[in-house]
């Protein structure tokens, strides 16, 4: 049973920790697999997640931030949860140093529907911390062999302030490339910020991507989603062509424990990626 027991995490080692934001509460962890065969088993697609496991603390489902085109490791960007009472796993993880060992289960859940996205123009809209699996998707699409499988790629990414933008180096690189249109915005800039200021929905409206052969992939805080969706409806995107990733409390990650059940779906197994059309089929219970 040991080989196929989906509840048993595989051992991974922290190879690198990157502090993403000024507030020090979001870090990207790069893990390498201690057993080579685990790496083979951990074949993932952008949009999937893994359960980070620390014995004595528990497990926490986190979206995969690296792209499957990056070999030899897997990355997760983790926010230290809880302000007054810190989250068990994320706080413990943030206290770890490079070289530490933890457990990883996955890959879990469905993914961004790559086949569906192929040959389409992709509009990626992200807000704040919810950019992790979008980064995975973007890097996947930008990968040399993959780029031609997708049409135009537009990225709109916003954060409350410049210090809270994730993956700053990569963003800068994307901005330099001509095969991807990158629009970075912050709600409020600072002395050194030379980029755009404004809320994501407004920026989307300005950018006005064409709905023709296009799919919008949107992840962000609820408030951002709430105001961004009408913009895309107005632009003419159909619900089938707007995708998002759903948040729900998860535990097992394999559709057994019943916790993330919404309607006939287990968000952890059947999701977390849904089109708005699919979400409309679900009871409003999330």
């Amino acid at each position: 049973m040991s080989d196929n027991n989906p509840y048993i995490p595989m051992p991974v080692q922290i190879a690198k920790i990157t502090n993403e934001v000024d507030t020090n509460d979001i870090k990207t962890f790069r893990f390498t697999f201690l057993n080579k065969e685990d790496e083979e088993k951990f074949k993932y697609t952008p949009g999937q997640f893994g359960e980070l496991s620390i014995y004595g603390k528990g497990e926490s489902p986190i979206g995969i931030a690296s792209s499957p085109t990056e070999l030899g490791y897997v990355e997760f960007t983790v926010q230290r949860a809880g302000t007054i009472v810190p989250g068990l796993v994320t706080a413990a993880l943030h206290d770890l140093d490079e070289g530490a060992q933890i457990g990883l289960r996955g890959p879990l859940g469905n993914s961004w529907p790559i086949e569906f996205l192929e040959n389409k123009n992709i509009v990626v809209v992200g807000g704040g911390f919810a950019f992790t699996t979008l980064r995975s998707l973007i890097n996947y699409m930008l990968y040399k062999d993959n780029r031609k499988r997708f049409g135009e790629i537009t990225v709109v990414y916003g954060a409350r302030n410049p210090g809270l933008l994730l993956y700053k180096d990569e963003l800068a690189e994307w901005e330099k490339r001509d095969d991807i249109k990158t629009i970075i915005t912050v709600d409020k800039g600072n002395e050194t910020w030379k980029g755009r200021e404004g809320f994501v929905p407004a920026v989307c409206k300005d950018t006005a991507p064409s709905p023709k052969d296009a799919v919008a992939v949107i992840c962000g805080p609820p408030i951002m989603i709430k105001f961004t969706l009408p913009v895309f409806f107005e632009l003419g995107f159909s619900k089938e062509n707007i995708l998002t990733s759903l948040e729900m409390r998860m535990k097992c990650g394999i559709g057994k424990c019943g916790r993330c059940n919404v309607g006939s779906q287990y968000v952890c197994k059947d999701g977390p990626v849904f089109s708005l059309a699919e979400l409309d089929q679900l009871p409003r219970d999330f």
């Binding site: 007054i84 009472v85 413990a92 206290d95 770890l96 140093d97």
Partner: protein
């Protein structure tokens, strides 16, 4: 997860003799999260401190455990150490392996084993410690001094001279205290009044001192830097603003009261000043002996008072002062010797206690400085009985410290003023003070009879009615003695003021077995108390002589000054807070808090804690059924973890 450094102190041999310190450090190094563990001879020394600071940097420590003496001893020291190395001071844990381990066992096996358990508990706890930010508060620049004896006077003057505003509260109608009752002081025999009265006057004149005589502290609110203290001004029935101290009233007054000042040896008027040099020089009316208050008519004083200062309708009033620090210098009482019937005090007129005798010597005293018995005769022989109630397991275990010396002073004065034979009945002569031994030697020369034996009993003489017999065993000759005398002077134990318990409660002071206020540390913080911002000076802490009292007064003034000299100060961050997500709105915290720090937010249906009022006792956290209250630095998790660590091995 955490990066813990463990530093085990040998404390010379204090710890190392009953705990194998190197083994302890080795053990620590095996514990998860401990990245460095060392032992060192004196961790609190400069090299020790530097070692800790170096390791914090080198090993990127985020928690420090110092395994040494009690946290009450050096927690502050080591907090500073790690703070100077860039670590939040609350990330320190002290393991007490000295006071509560190495000093209380002889068994090195037992000591080492327990030290491991304690250290393990500390590691468990340290993992969960959180950095805390101290609260910064404004500091009120004024100081309150409670007690207007020599200690209070000295402290008040010192502070006032630095420009600090001082409130000096005295329960009697004059300042001066016991020292004002004395005639001479040992061993120099200089005149007590000569050295004290100028100081009393200085207090009166000082623009920075507000004297509140005939007053008592009734309520203490707030905390260091911001005390709100309510003071009761007892009714004097004399308007001191109007009174011009002509004292015509005191002459006309027909009332007769017992003179407290003269220890009841004489009567005084109902409207009176206690003694001629009293400060302030303004009378008060004693209700108990005032004819008007007893019989409903008289008011002679009112009639003679040109200033119309007499006010029989005066009520006690309450006022609040705001201060940043408090000095308590409330002095002492003599033990009541009446219950010690074997000494016949109160039974035989010839038995006196020491303060009565002080008054007999005093030229302003009841006899005008002549030594006479109650019947007016001069005593022919006098016995001084030391250690009455002191050094006595049945009464007071402590040595009252000044009796030997004032007895010598008495002996000298008796010799000077009478031709009586003077006997000293003592257990040990204690003359440890500057010039004291010399004074003792001088008295030996003065033909005082020293009998090494505690006075056991005083009876009246059957052979010579009116005379007294002192019984004692001379322990040098092992002879049982019966010495006939005319006068017996008891040197009763010095005990805390009768109301010191109330005062302790008001200021949250600890008291020792006898009831003297306890210092924070007997050596390193002899004037500080467990209550931040409250200091003690003089005999209220323990019996001592005038030089020591004055020295303490200076010290306490300096201590108080260190607080009030700054505009702002840091308060412990160990307050409680509410996690609103877990609050069930039961309001238990609101019901129990002695400081009204929690309140209930009716709109949000959760409790909130005003951290300025919180003193960090943690009561609210323990009555919170949902664990919504986080008692910082003593959180449920921290305590539970520490318990787990303590019980593991």
């Amino acid at each position: 997860m955490s990066r813990i450094g463990v530093f085990v102190c040998h404390c010379g041999l204090n710890i190392a003799k009953t705990v194998r310190v190197s083994e302890l450090a080795e053990f620590a190094a095996t514990l998860p999260d401990v990245v460095v563990a060392r032992d060192y001879k004196f961790m609190c020394s400069t090299p020790g401190q530097e070692m800790i600071q170096r390791d914090i940097k080198e090993y990127k420590l985020d928690r420090v455990i110092v395994t040494a003496c009690s946290p009450l001893m050096h927690e502050k020291t080591f907090r500073k150490v790690i703070e100077n190395a860039g670590l939040n001071q609350y990330l320190l844990t002290i393991v007490n392996i000295r006071e509560q381990l190495s000093w209380v066992t002889h068994d090195i096996e037992e000591g080492t084993a327990k030290a491991k358990a304690l250290l393990n508990g500390a590691v468990y706890r340290a993992r969960l410690l959180a950095p805390l930010t101290s609260r910064v508060i404004d500091v009120n620049p004024d100081v309150l001094v409670v007690g207007g004896g020599i200690a209070g006077i000295q402290a008040a003057l010192e502070l006032a001279n630095t420009g600090t505003k001082v409130y000096l509260v005295e329960k009697n109608s004059t300042i001066g205290g016991h020292m004002a009752q004395f005639d001479k002081t040992f061993p120099t025999l200089d005149c007590s009044a000569c050295i004290l009265t100028p100081k009393m006057d200085a207090v009166l004149q000082h623009k920075n001192i507000q004297m509140l005589t005939y007053s008592e502290v009734t309520e203490v609110k707030g905390y260091v830097g911001n005390f709100d203290i309510t003071i009761k001004q007892k009714a004097r029935y004399v308007d001191h603003n109007k009174c011009n101290a002509c004292l015509a009233c005191t002459e006309k007054c027909p009332g007769k009261g017992v003179s407290e000042w003269d220890e009841g040896l004489v009567k005084r008027k109902a409207i009176y000043i206690p003694f001629p040099q009293a400060v302030p020089q303004k009378p008060v009316i004693d209700r108990e002996s005032c004819t008007y208050f007893i019989k409903g008519k008289c008011k002679l004083c009112q009639k003679v008072c040109e200033q119309k200062a007499i006010d029989f309708e005066q009520q006690e009033t309450f006022s609040t002062v705001k201060v940043g620090a408090v000095i308590v210098a409330t002095g002492y009482d003599l033990m009541d010797t009446k219950p010690l019937v074997q000494y016949g005090y109160g039974q035989y007129p010839g038995v006196y206690h020491s303060l009565e005798v002080e008054r007999l010597f005093n030229s302003a005293g009841p006899t005008g400085g002549k030594v006479t018995l109650r019947d007016g005769k001069e005593p022919q022989s006098i016995a001084l009985l030391h250690c009455i109630g002191s050094r006595d397991k049945n009464y007071c275990e402590h040595c009252s410290r000044v009796c030997c010396m004032y007895s010598l002073k008495f002996a000298h004065l008796f010799k000077e003023k009478t031709s009586a034979d003077v006997y000293q009945f003592y257990i040990d002569m204690r003359a440890a003070g500057k010039g004291y031994e010399e004074f003792y030697n001088r008295l030996i020369e003065e033909d005082v009879k020293f009998i090494r034996g505690k006075g056991a009993r005083v009876t009246d003489s059957e052979e010579e009615p009116g005379r007294l017999i002192v019984e004692a065993e001379d322990t040098l000759t092992s002879k049982f003695l019966r010495v006939p005398v005319d006068m017996v002077v008891l040197c009763p134990a010095i005990v805390p003021r009768a109301d010191s318990k109330d005062l302790a409660r008001l200021f949250n002071l600890s008291t020792d077995k006898q009831g003297f206020f306890m210092e924070r540390h007997p050596k390193l913080a002899p004037l500080a108390t467990m209550t931040e911002g409250v200091f003690i000076a003089g005999v209220c802490q323990s019996p001592k002589d005038i030089p020591d009292t004055v020295a303490q007064a200076y010290g306490a003034a300096a201590e108080a000054l260190t607080i009030v000299v700054k505009d702002k100060m840091e308060l412990d961050a160990t307050t409680a807070m509410v996690n609103p997500a877990s609050c069930c709105g039961c309001q238990n915290c609101v019901r129990v808090c002695p400081y009204s720090a929690p309140s209930f937010n009716v709109d949000k249906r959760v409790s909130e804690i005003n951290e300025a009022l919180c003193k960090g006792c943690g009561l609210c956290a323990s009555v919170c059924p949902t664990s919504a209250i986080i008692a910082r630095h003593f959180t449920n998790e921290q305590v539970l973890a520490e318990m787990e660590g303590l019980m593991e091995f």
